[in-house]
Point group: D2
Chain length 297, copies 4
């Protein structure tokens, strides 16, 4: 911490005189920067390694809906080779009248799934008041795209000892994204996994535009591991698999993919969820590709 | 509240089956909608009326920096005719090393300014844990652009009895913006003022692109009052005054403008702050225009 | 021309070493620049003056459809105070199966309308091979948004003696827009009128996002006159009038507005066309505002 | 042609009543559509096949600069396995003072390179008046991004017997892109190769944002072959190779890559050009990948 505080102090003079426009253009030198930390940061989660040779696949339903839905999906993604189970208990939804997640009950189901199936868990925290509870049930804390510049929450998870997966916002430049990660590192938590999940553009054929250029650029600028979420980007399961393969080819350290035991009945984002059978095919493809890219699944 | 819950319940079926793409396209019928509330909502703040004939101007520094800076600026904007004093105590900043605001000390200075100068206060809340404190010192609670989809915070200010000014996000569609306001209304707080402050586009000549088309469209779709913040949109004081005049001409209910007693020494956003002399000229122009647009300042 | 060639030559060294990214950020000093031509350029078209105190309103149908439609619309807009008649004979359409305009027959009808009604004419040229014909029938040559970087066409109209109205493209930065105007000036035609008509953004509530910030910025950077086209920007006649008033308030030199004698039967863009009665109301409003903004209609 | 005209006629009624907003949302059924032409169109160019199992790589300098530069680059890309030589004789440049290409002299050099090195040629046409000349010297006619909605030029190349490579514009939705291809097919030329080359977004870390999601979506909607140009998208040679590999993984039919014998002295876009050595490495990587994706180089 002492070294970090020192680095932060030294940067302060420089950064404070920059306007926001300048910050958008100029990659600042900070704790996230490869310039001061040339080797990859490898984040370890119950034996899964993000940022090393492993190509770590996070899979599971958008939202935890029920014991049966979660356990069946967890069993399916584990048997196909997923390394981490995802599932939302607190769901950020555009409308207050959409399904908002099961909350604490969802967290209990995730803990149950971990015990029964044996995969580490990632779930989203939306608010600092829920952080202690979420932290007690999850192995990775997810910060969603809409909270990428919720600086209070970033500082709070920066004081956690659990790894954090930080999603890029719909409108976040790469430099802003790295500055949001910097909030977490500056607060003392070095275990941050970045996640590219699509940006908002004029194009309406996809839910968002997956920005795969972000992968080589971020890998050059920062030592933090980086995964790609093609499900939220394209919003349509037909296009998820080719983009997942492209994510490996472009150099990502892993994937975050939505899988649902029964996509057509999902309470949330069913259109973009893979069925277990399609997920199995994707994992087979990635396993075939992995050797070429010096990766192991 | 009972009627609102009923309305919410009736909408639920419809809204839950919509995908996000559909929500982006289809204006939902909700508490914010003019279809169920045809007359303007008028939000009253210590005698200032948002949404009626008054053209209410909120002015003040980006950040509260010191007693002298705040009082001098407050005196200046009051004498030019501003109706509400703005000033940030908690500042959302892209970098953790930028000035983050004076916090509680800034809130005390705002209370002092209110007592000494006599203008009602607006200041931003960034986190639910600070809400009680902020609420005790402010007359209007501001939700910043980066928190427009911080749904936990929206629900929390929805339970406050203080009016809320909700800023549009940098990449929020008008329908998403209204749905965020709906969170506040659905939680029980009907006193919401919307604020258009520019969206993020490809154009780099301005900090953001002020979307004045949003004004007639929002005024048609919702009964809530709407003000325009040209300062954050263009990010350059030279262009603030013409856009402020355009905001009145296009039908906004008021303005939010950054004024600093000494823009060149401001700790935050000095480039976009008006000097008191320029603000005086702007208010003179708006007073000349007001009659034509059936407004009073 | 010699001085221009000299200036062009001197700039060449500087500009050639800039990457496109740099050009997007740095306003180059060129023939269009106020730095080398501080006074406003006033473009004269049959007694109508663009760039001086006159607020010049161009109005008429999107497309010339028939003798009756054109003459009736022309008569209506003239009696309301329009200064120039617009009407498309060659129409750029996304689909090859949409109505493409009447072509040469449309040009003849425009000439007829000028003779019968007495307004100068503006119509679009889409291709260099049609330029002689269009030039013979029009008083202002319009370059459409999709041709803003059709550099061959820009050079060709740069050799014409007729004034050119150049529309900003859907994704043209202000610096690129000025560089497109520079092509015309560098080819020898100093009479260019710029037209802001909305840019493409993520927002789907409007056809495009009208960028009124462009007005004060362009008026500062260039000496060329600038009009605003709210019809193509918002794509919905309900929002055209408030934005037209805002265009005067923000400092534009005039307007370009679509008016159709019978919007509901228009072959092209009927949804965004004003009826003659609504246009009359708009012109009345603008006349009331004009004095305040030191303008005459 | 008769069948095409018939199809066009039948679609007319449907398409004409759509507003542009609707066209942006609704994939129209047309000559480009897989619904009426389920098998892939394979475009043959001197034995190179676009749209079949071959992964066809187009490579060469941004602009033809000199005999030596072109021949040396051509020799290098051929020996690495490129299938087609690219080189611009007419260059669309934002500024009139930037290098505009060698014109007719450049075309002669391309013909020389074809004779000496033996690769088919692709070069851009910017204007209908140059079409006969360009057509006589090239094997594939390129339509650049800025001309994607230059409908006159699309119709003109639609009457050519040479294949056309159509680049997506910076602001073109996928549906608009397909409608531009439809102009060419409707005019009688079925040999169109689509090219995704990045769209303009808010992100400034790259020149444009490469939209690889476009690949599976376009391959689903149309039978036309599709290549990816990562050079213009990212604008930085360091990121071209990973994105080129991703393009194969996502399902593109080939690539278009800028290679320069001496990138640091290039007159145009040197920053984004690969050196011959880096291009050789890229081709080696693609050859290793090809089997997995059922491709041959």
């Amino acid at each position: 911490m002492m070294v970090q505080t020192q680095a932060a102090h030294e940067n302060r003079g420089l950064v404070e005189v920059l306007t926001q426009t300048e910050i958008r253009k100029k990659p600042p030198v900070n704790l996230v920067s490869r310039q001061i930390h040339p080797e990859n940061t490898v984040v370890e989660v119950e034996g899964v390694l993000f940022g090393g040779p492993q190509f770590a696949v996070i899979a599971g339903p958008c939202a935890v809906e029920s014991r049966d839905q979660l356990l069946a999906t967890a069993q399916a993604v584990k048997s196909s080779g997923a390394a981490v189970l995802r599932g939302g208990a607190y769901k950020p939804r555009t409308s207050p009248y959409s399904f908002q997640g099961l909350g604490a009950e969802g967290l209990d189901l995730l803990t149950l799934a971990k015990e029964e199936i044996g995969l580490p868990i990632i779930t989203e925290v939306m608010d600092g008041t829920e952080l202690d509870l979420v932290e007690a049930h999850t192995d990775i804390i997810q910060i969603g795209a809409r909270n990428v510049q919720n600086f209070s929450l970033l500082r709070q998870v920066g004081r956690s000892r659990k790894p954090v997966l930080l999603k890029r916002g719909l409108m976040t430049t790469l430099d802003e994204f790295l500055m949001s990660a910097e909030y977490i590192l500056a607060a003392g938590n070095p275990n941050v996994i970045l996640c590219e999940r699509g940006i908002r553009t004029f194009e309406t054929a996809t839910r968002n535009t997956l920005d795969l250029s972000a992968v080589p650029i971020l890998k050059e600028r920062t030592h933090l591991p980086l995964v790609v979420d093609p499900s939220h980007a394209v919003g349509d399961c037909r296009y998820v698999c080719p983009l997942a393969r492209a994510a490996m080819a472009v150099g990502a350290d892993g994937l975050m993919v939505e899988v649902h035991i029964s996509p057509e009945t999902a309470l949330c984002d069913g259109q973009q969820s893979l069925s277990p059978a399609v997920f199995q095919t994707l994992m087979d493809d990635l396993r075939l590709m992995a050797g070429l890219f010096h990766r192991v699944l």
